[in-house]
């Protein structure tokens, strides 16, 4: 992800989670987080459990999210060069000041009367922890969907009902593992009406406008197969694809595994034999542990999990 992509990503995230954007430029956002985003991003589980238990009005945090550090710093430096704009004293500033004084002595600070309070700055470059949190939060809030395709306006006739059918969509991550690792993403759509399976299903979804509500003048076809069956179809297709792959990497890893096992065998077996009776179990246990470690480290395997999934109602009978 480059700066522009990150910027766009952050903007869409903030909008989707109802955060209030106070100020923005192509290089940054200043936001007041929504409760939902605050829960995911600010690492305050104790605070939120307090809010949940007492029903107190939550006070969410504000953040300065910088998506392009260089550009932001340049603009910031330029702004500092200019003479500061004299601040117009706010109406009732005496009252506010008084409140602030109270606040100080009672150790209570209300962010509304202290807008200049230091705001945590977060540089969101690729690999930044805060961006990773945004990723996690998106995943948490975007795992299971149920959506309907929005009918195209002009075809809608008040008496005409369009047939929709349900699809199971699932984005799968395939991990090729040994002491090293490689990954692939596969996106499948399986029609629950016919069992037909489409690949790159996610790209297909993006071509449509989707809505969580069942649109008017739409009827849904009956499902012919279960979710379980549909998942098996996708898994079967994926498995067939994977079988055709080159497993040179796995053979190499298996060779490394064997070599390592034989190296330690060469070390431990004479050691156990030569040891006194009472020490043997201990050394044998150590040998066992080393073997486990080596298998854990090298054993080649392929593991498939889902990033996210959903039921999608699309026009037509798939």
């Amino acid at each position: 992800m480059n700066e522009r992509q990150i910027h766009k990503f952050v903007q869409r995230y903030l909008e989707a989670t109802d955060c209030r954007i106070v100020e923005k430029s192509p290089a940054h956002f200043q936001v007041k987080l929504s409760p939902r985003a605050d829960r995911d991003l600010t690492n305050r589980p104790y605070y939120w459990s307090f809010v949940d238990r007492t029903g107190a009005e939550p006070e969410t945090m504000s953040m300065l999210l910088v998506t392009d550090k260089n550009k932001y710093d340049e603009a910031d430096a330029a702004a500092k060069q200019k003479p500061p704009v004299p601040q117009k004293p706010a109406a009732g500033s005496a009252g506010a000041a008084g409140e602030a004084a109270f606040g100080r002595s009672f150790g209570y600070l209300n962010s509304t009367i202290n807008p200049s309070a230091r705001m945590a700055r977060e540089d969101l470059h690729f690999g930044a922890r805060r961006l990773e949190q945004l990723f996690q939060s998106a995943k948490l809030g975007g795992s299971y969907l149920c959506l309907f395709q929005e009918p195209e306006k002009r075809t809608s006739h008040p008496l005409h009902s369009t047939a929709y059918s349900a699809w199971l969509g699932v984005n799968m991550k395939v991990e090729f593992l040994c002491d090293m690792k490689r990954e692939e993403i596969h996106s499948f759509g399986i029609s629950l009406a016919t069992g037909q399976c489409l690949e790159q299903f996610n790209d297909r979804l993006l071509q449509h406008k989707m809505t969580p509500k069942l649109p008017p003048n739409v009827h849904t076809a009956k499902n012919a197969i279960t979710l379980n069956k549909a998942a098996s179809i996708a898994e079967g297709i994926l498995e067939r694809k994977l079988r055709a792959y080159d497993y040179g990497w796995a053979d190499a890893a298996a060779r490394r595994l064997e070599e390592e096992l034989s190296t330690i065998r060469h070390y431990y077996e004479p050691l156990i034999e030569g040891a006194e009776e009472e020490h043997r179990p201990l050394i044998a246990e150590q040998y066992e542990r080393r073997q486990d470690e080596i298998r854990w480290q090298y054993e080649p395997r392929v593991s498939v999990s889902a990033t996210n999934c959903g039921i999608f109602y699309l026009q037509g009978i798939g």
Partner: protein, 613 residues
């Protein structure tokens, strides 16, 4: 997609953990001989539940964002360095990157990093750790280091690598994914058992030469730990004999050098003399990387040391004598109580620095003395003598030097009070000086550094420790007074004279004649030759010298026992000096010769790096 699988039980995600089977009821089948395919179906169950209950359903935009996030993080090849694109804040050096690659792709994540000092073993280890984390192959990592380096590691991992590493402080700290702890803590109960019951995806041990002896608790503890990847960091894989090398490598990969007897038969003539060097080297190459500096040694610039001898003013000399007498009397009164005596010696050292430093100590001493004690009156007399002092000979000289240099300069002093005094003194002479001390928080330290780099000509520091202060842009330092602990002097010099320094460095030692300071300067400069030692050498000298007592303690004892007898003092210090210079000669002479044969093999492992300032 394990919504329930947050960080608390996230370990399950690593289905490869030796003891753990995957969650749920996984379906297993073979894709290729020896390659199992595993489908995680937790998602299906979750989806079915939501279908049955008709919700709750998630957000479409977040769904797309989650897909985009996955795509951007996708590890598309086995053998590139993915982590490099997520490290915007610094650029590793080429040899560090090639080392990381080698560990990842040729050594499968088990290696000894044996670079010479200063080539960045920490960076190399950080790169390897980060890469495994980015690839999802490491989640839980433990880093064991000497206690004094814990915070430095934590900071480095956090700032340079964006890894959330935590210093182990309380028992629950062990629960974090990446923990940095001291070896001494980790191997002790109750921590020990807890750690031995964990599966660590990665274990990193800094200063791993402390694992050279099989019989130590350190060694046995590390041997008993369950780990997948493992890095051992040491600049000196062999300090005394070849067995150390065998132990270290056996800890990492048992059998790599054969069994103990095989090793002895195949590779050892004498404890420091290897044979079959080619095979030994080949065996080492598979587990060890040693980058060395280019032949010219490290391309350090020169150190130009100047001792500036100063005569105290009559008033200052009067104070020095009065304090010396005072110390003498107290010593005669309470023979044997060494701890209180040491603070008296401090008093004597402080006179050589500034009256303010003495004053502060006297005030504290006055407060601690019982009200009816006759000592109170004596302390008061000393305070009266202090009043008589109007000028500070050293400060005047320092100012003169600073003006002459007309360049950035760092002034080190041992005492807060002296620091305050100097700040004021320089300010009153229209010279901008900024302070730096250990007690400042990180933000303030950084700010002071920025001020010094930008606006101030002078930095006045009481602390040399801490890697936060890198002053390569400064070529002058003044030791306003000298610590009695030579390591601290070396630390001071190291702030300025280090990799990246492009000019020669000028070091000025201010030294008042006729005082204890004169002896110290001659001891450190002439006898240890401190200011010209190679990095690391001082360590060896002190290790041999300070068997029971530190140099600092010995000096204090000498000073007290000599009392007003100047000849006795001189004699004692000369004796210290000659034994130090003898050890220095030994260290310089015998070590390289002794290990020459071993070094030749070690040095053939890895590449030579030309590090230019």
């Amino acid at each position: 997609m394990h919504p329930s699988n947050d960080s608390a039980n996230g370990e399950q995600q690593l289905s490869s953990s030796p003891s753990g089977a995957g969650a749920g009821t996984p379906k297993r089948k073979l894709l290729h001989p020896g390659v199992e395919l595993h489908f995680d179906r937790a998602w299906l169950q979750q989806l079915q539940e939501r279908v049955d209950r008709n919700g709750p359903w998630d957000d479409w935009t977040l769904y797309q964002l989650a897909v985009e996030a996955e795509q951007s993080k996708l590890v598309s090849s086995f053998d590139d360095l993915q982590c490099l694109r997520s490290l915007p804040s610094f650029e590793p050096m080429p040899h560090q990157i090639s080392t990381a690659r080698k560990v990842l792709h040729e050594m499968s994540g088990r290696a000894i990093l044996a670079d010479e000092v200063g080539l960045g073993k920490t960076i190399e280890a950080g790169l390897v750790l980060k890469e495994y984390m980015v690839r999802g192959l490491v989640k839980r990592a433990l880093i064991l280091v000497p206690a004094s380096l814990v915070l430095q590691w934590v900071r480095e991992l956090n700032t340079k690598f964006g890894i959330s590493a935590y210093a182990q402080k309380k028992d629950h700290s062990w629960g974090y994914d990446v923990v940095v702890a001291s070896m001494d803590t980790a191997k002790r109960d109750p921590h020990r058992d807890k750690l031995l019951n964990q599966d660590y995806d990665m274990l990193i041990i800094d200063e791993a030469h402390k694992l050279k002896n099989k019989k130590t608790t350190n060694y046995q503890f590390v041997n008993a730990m369950r780990k997948k990847y493992c890095l051992l960091l040491t600049a000196t894989p062999v300090q005394n004999d070849l067995d150390e090398l065998f132990n270290l490598i056996t800890l990492l990969k048992p059998g790599q050098l054969g069994g103990q007897n095989e090793f002895a038969a195949n590779f050892v003539v004498d404890k420091r003399l290897p044979k079959n060097e080619d095979q030994l080297q080949e065996a080492l190459q598979a587990v060890m990387i040693r980058n060395r500096r280019g032949d010219g040694g490290i391309h350090f610039t020169k150190r130009i040391v100047k001792n500036i001898r100063l005569k105290l003013s009559a008033e200052e000399q009067a104070l020095y004598d009065a304090v010396t007498n005072f110390v003498r009397e107290r010593f005669d009164e309470n023979q044997g109580d060494w701890t209180s005596m040491l603070s008296l010696v401090t008093l004597q050292r402080e006179v050589c620095s500034s009256r303010d430093a003495v004053f502060l100590t006297l005030v504290n001493m006055f407060k601690k003395t019982p009200e009816d004690s006759p000592v109170r009156a004596k302390i008061w007399q000393l305070v009266e003598v202090i009043r008589g002092i109007q000028a500070n000979t050293k400060a005047e000289k320092a100012m003169e030097l600073v003006r002459e240099m007309n360049d950035k300069v760092i002034i080190f002093t041992e005492y807060r009070a002296t620091q305050e005094y100097l700040l004021q003194y320089f300010r009153s002479h229209n010279m901008v000086a900024v302070p730096y001390r250990g007690g400042m928080n990180r933000g303030k330290k950084d700010w002071m550094m920025d001020l010094f780099r930008g606006r101030a000509q002078v930095l006045i520091a009481t602390e040399a420790g801490g890697e936060g202060i890198n002053l390569q842009f400064c070529h002058h330092m003044i030791n306003f007074d000298l610590p009695w602990n030579p390591m601290r002097v070396e630390q001071r010099i190291g702030r300025v004279h280090r990799l990246g320094q492009t000019s020669d460095v000028h070091i000025y030692n201010l030294c008042t004649i006729g005082t204890i300071e004169e002896h110290i300067v001659s001891l450190l400069h002439e006898k240890i030759n401190l200011f010209e030692l190679v990095i690391g050498e001082l360590d060896h000298i002190l290790e041999r010298f300070e068997k029971n007592e530190t140099l600092e303690q010995r000096l204090a004892r000498l000073l007290l026992e000599a009392g007003t007898n100047k000849d006795a003092l001189k004699e004692g210090i000369d004796e210290l000096g000659s034994s130090l210079s003898r050890i220095r000669d030994e260290v310089e002479l015998d070590e390289p010769v002794d290990l020459g044969a071993v070094d030749a093999v070690l040095n053939a492992v890895g590449q030579t790096i030309e590090v230019r300032p």
